[in-house]
């Protein structure tokens, strides 16, 4: 009998898993953004001494994983599971990044929602009594993502104003059954939502309805209201999707107003940096969570955070075949003290 279910899409944890450590490594462009002081490391070259973008992305994840463990003074032997994912075909950034870790591994794909997806699963494993330590980690890399999803870097094309900029970086968290918090109290798992948007250069618009769907499900299932949060943060809708999300939520009677932000809007200075509609990619919400949000919670500046990472579940093949873009959003409720 599933007695931890709370409404149709949410679970409530009896023994809320703690986030005891995080790690974040970002690329040079993110390192010039407004959140630069929150990241553990900023690499100054996207190749980072490797021979390909893909290898560089794996290295970023590998090093981020090492940092998470180091900060918590844990060794890989202590970790029961790694749950990881990225944007590349067959999730190779995670597969190769985690290859040498010698830890039981779940590879998952949720596009840019992967961070919240992995934490949904990780928190369930811990509260279910299946694990004491779980690392949830994701990555993305501007160059490897462009190569796979768009055009060669050196091809002379223009980006449309709604296009988003894939974040180079990796972020991850170590979840534990024990510790002083912050705590993951609820997880709301999203459903696939497709409102028929076909423009792969407007992913914010494609993902916004999924974010709205999950937010409404979360409020409905838990009885919380937007006012119960200091920060409601969606993962990489960019500013086009953020505005849509906010307006749609208002239509449903939820005023997110000042407490609402979006990782894709936060990670770059959209006025000074050439990032068009904002950041995207698995690494976007992951690094903002592991860097900015985690630090602000620990400082006591944030007490209740709703982290909603959104993903566009398409591939170049599906777009070429004329398919619209399905999207998903997963939510995690983080509370500083119980």
């Amino acid at each position: 009998m599933a007695n931890k279910r709370n409404g149709s899409q949410t679970v409530k944890f009896d023994n809320p898993p703690r986030i005891i450590s995080t790690g974040s490594i970002v690329g040079p462009k993110e390192g010039q953004g407004p959140l630069r002081l929150y990241f553990d490391e900023i690499i100054d070259d996207e190749m980072w001494g490797e021979k390909s973008w893909e290898k560089a992305e794996s290295k970023i994840m590998r090093e981020t994983f090492a940092r998470i463990l180091k900060k918590a003074a844990r060794s890989p032997k202590d970790i029961n599971y790694i749950i990881a994912g990225d944007l590349l075909n067959q999730c190779i950034a995670a597969n190769y990044g985690i290859r040498e870790s010698d830890v039981p591994f779940f590879g998952i794909f949720g596009a840019c929602s992967t961070m919240a997806e992995s934490m949904n699963i990780g928190a369930m494993l811990i509260d279910g009594g299946f694990a004491d330590y779980v690392v949830c980690i994701t990555s993305s890399h501007f160059c490897s993502a462009e190569k796979q999803f768009r055009f060669p870097l050196e091809l002379g094309t223009q980006r449309t104003p709604t296009a988003q900029w894939t974040v180079t970086g990796s972020g991850g968290v170590l979840l534990s059954s024990d510790g002083t918090g912050p705590f993951i109290t609820h997880a709301t798992t999203g459903k696939i939502v497709d409102m028929g948007v076909k423009d792969a250069n407007n992913m914010g618009a494609a993902m916004a309805p999924a974010a709205v769907d999950t937010l409404i499900a979360h409020f409905r299932d838990t009885g919380f209201l937007p006012e119960d949060y200091d920060l409601i943060v969606t993962g990489d809708l960019g500013y086009v999707g953020k505005n849509i999300c906010q307006e749609l939520m208002m239509k449903h009677g939820y005023d997110l107003s000042e407490r609402y932000n979006d990782c894709g809007v936060m990670i770059y200075d959209l006025k000074k940096q050439d990032a068009h509609a904002g950041g995207s990619g698995c690494g976007c919400s992951a690094t903002v969570l592991a860097g900015y949000i985690y630090e602000e919670i620990n400082k006591g500046n944030l007490n209740n955070v709703l982290f909603v990472a959104t993903g566009a579940l398409f591939s170049p093949t599906s777009v070429q075949q004329g398919e619209s873009i399905p999207a998903i959003a997963h939510a995690i409720r983080i509370q500083r003290i119980l």
Binding site: P28, F142, F151, L153, D274
Partner: protein
């Protein structure tokens, strides 16, 4: 000398207008650059076959031959010339014959440069 200056002005205007037309297509239809290139080369072939593109080349010079529609023009001119001398077989030989230098150069230079250069990350 006077004539020489006009060749530049004409090339600038005709080439500029062709590219501007392409830009309107990109912004209005969200066509990718590969589709734009295909569209222009095919349009070049059709307009050349109808005899229209020759007139544009007469005015614009390089302004008409440098854009990819000019590649379609060269293909078609080569095909028509070979059809004149070889009959129907010319439809299969003329195009590549006329454009051989450009295509070979693109492959050769393309290969050499690709081997020598590395892509740079964008920020």
């Amino acid at each position: 000398m006077q004539n020489m200056i006009w060749t530049y002005i004409n090339a600038f205007i005709v080439g500029g207008v062709i590219c501007a037309a392409g830009q309107i297509l990109i912004d209005k239809t969200k066509l990718t650059s590969a589709r734009i290139l295909v569209l222009f080369v095919t349009t070049g072939v059709i307009l050349s076959a109808l005899g229209v593109y020759q007139k544009i080349v007469d005015i614009g010079g390089a302004g008409a031959t440098i854009p990819l529609s000019g590649f379609g023009y060269t293909l078609t001119r080569g095909v028509f010339r070979d059809v004149e001398s070889l009959g129907i077989l010319g439809a299969f030989t003329g195009g590549l014959k006329a454009t051989a230098a450009g295509i070979t150069a693109a492959i050769l230079f393309g290969y050499i440069i690709s081997v020598a250069a590395v892509p740079k990350a964008k920020r």
